[in-house]
Every structure is written in structure tokens, then in C-alpha cells.
């Protein structure tokens, strides 16, 4: 490796991590990137979001667990956990059916990264939360209803 490149890689934060990683060829190619196409995020219904994700034929799976409150006290910050024991899990997405735009987050899981995330999301109203996983054999999904007393999208 030329010394300049080594120094650049060592310099770290000044260049911005994504730029740094892209320059070093370490970011995944094509659409499978953090800065990939965002069409699915603009979908206004669950069906459209699944279609945009290529997941219309997702099969229900008991190997995907969604953890969260039964009733969310604060719809603006609903804690969710998604955990899947599906072999070859490479993508994971979180959708909230009744949100204006159901797709909330999408993750790419490189080799060695578990299908296991926890986060906090906004829910507009009581709704199914859907976890979608792309694994060996295709797409799988699970749903869990979370009740919301005070909607979390306009405040």
C-alpha cells in the first residue's frame, strides 16, 4: 500500500467514514449500500413498501421475534427489538403498517453480523409492527401489534 494511502486511512474522522470506506473499496457495491436507493421509504402503504423491497412473497416465520411494549406510552419513541434465527440472514427491515410511510428502517447485515437489532421508532397510532428478513430461501416476516395511546408522529 502506498504510504499516502496508509496515512489517509489512519487519519480517520477528518474525511468522513463513508467517503473513507468508499475510497478504500470497503463499502458494499451497488444497491446494497447505506446510500442506496430509497424508493421503499416513500411507499405509502405496507403492500407498496413490500413490493419496493422485493418482498411481496414473504413467508410468515416463527423464527423472527419482535420485542416491544404491548402498549406504547409514548408513540414518539417506541422501543423495538428484532431478532431472527434464520440461516443466511442478510437484510432486515422494520415496518409500521399504519405509519404514513410504513418502512422505518432497513439494515444490511454483512457476513458475521447477527439478525438482531434494537432501536426506537415513531408510531402514528396502534399498528402492526412488521419485521422482514431476507435470508437463504427468500424473504420472511413476522408481525406484532403494538397499541399506542398517544401518537408519535406530529410531536
Amino acid at each position: 500500500m502506498n504510504p499516502q494511502r496508509r496515512d489517509v486511512l489512519k487519519a480517520g474522522s477528518g474525511l468522513g467514514l463513508l467517503g473513507l470506506l468508499a475510497a478504500a473499496g470497503l463499502i458494499l457495491p451497488g444497491a446494497a449500500r447505506a446510500d442506496g436507493p430509497r424508493r421503499a421509504f416513500d411507499a405509502g402503504t405496507l403492500a407498496e413498501a413490500l413490493e419496493a423491497l422485493g418482498a411481496v412473497r414473504a413467508a410468515n416465520s416463527r423464527d423472527i421475534r419482535i420485542t416491544g411494549p404491548e402498549v406504547a406510552e409514548n408513540g414518539a419513541a417506541v422501543p423495538l427489538g428484532i431478532s431472527a434465527s434464520l440461516p443466511g440472514a442478510e437484510r432486515l427491515a422494520i415496518l409500521v403498517e399504519k405509519n404514513l410511510n410504513p418502512l422505518v428502517a432497513s439494515f444490511i447485515l454483512p457476513e458475521g453480523t447477527e439478525a438482531h437489532v434494537q432501536t426506537r421508532v415513531r408510531m402514528a397510532q396502534t399498528s402492526d409492527v412488521i419485521a422482514l428478513v431476507k435470508a437463504e430461501g427468500g424473504f420472511y416476516m413476522a408481525a406484532r401489534e403494538i397499541r399506542v395511546t398517544i401518537g408519535g408522529c406530529s410531536g
Binding site: 470497503l26 447505506a34 428502517a105 415513531r122 408522529c153
Partner: protein
């Protein structure tokens, strides 16, 4: 520049668990301010986690991630002292990267 992220990366039994607490208003574009005007959207759209320079997570967010987002994830591998970094970019093109050693 945004406030630093709080990142904890702990390695145990061959798996490193990363927990990130990010400081960001995450305006979803539906909130109204005191004068009744809509506060325009401003939120993190992408996030990348790396371990020793190798990408271990790529995330895309919509507008429904909560203010001051929290994220936890796990990957196989990682040893004490090695670096875990998290980088994000938002709708204004602002970015932030923070890194911690695995404990």
C-alpha cells in the same frame, strides 16, 4: 457539528455487541412549531458501523426513527482494544463519525 455519539462496544463469548445513542433532532416533517408552521424534515438517512475498518452494519432510516436515535446490533468477532466506528449522514448532508475501542 452534531454532539458526539455515545457508543459502547463489548466483546463477550465471540460476539461484540454495539450500542449507540445518537444526538439528533430527527425532525420527521410532521411537527408544527409554536407559530403553527411545519418544521421541515431533517433526519439521519444512513448509518454505517465498522469494526477494524470492515463494515459490520449498513442502515437506512426513514423519517420515523425517534429523536436522539438508539441502535444496538451484534457481530461475531471483535476483541478488546479493536476499534468500532459508527458514521451517519442526514438529509442536510451533515455527517458525524465516532469511534470507540471494544471493551
Amino acid at each position: 457539528m452534531a454532539d458526539p455519539m455515545k457508543i459502547r462496544a463489548v466483546a463477550r463469548d465471540g460476539v461484540t455487541e454495539v450500542r449507540v445513542q445518537i444526538a439528533h433532532d430527527m425532525e420527521n416533517g410532521q411537527r408544527r412549531d409554536d407559530s403553527g408552521a411545519i418544521v421541515p424534515p431533517w433526519f439521519i438517512t444512513e448509518l454505517t458501523g465498522t469494526h477494524a475498518g470492515r463494515v459490520v452494519l449498513q442502515a437506512q432510516f426513514g423519517a420515523a426513527m425517534s429523536r436522539n436515535p438508539y441502535l444496538a446490533f451484534r457481530f461475531r468477532g471483535g476483541a478488546r482494544g479493536e476499534t468500532v466506528a459508527v458514521a451517519w449522514k442526514d438529509t442536510r448532508g451533515e455527517t458525524r463519525t465516532d469511534a470507540v475501542p471494544i471493551t
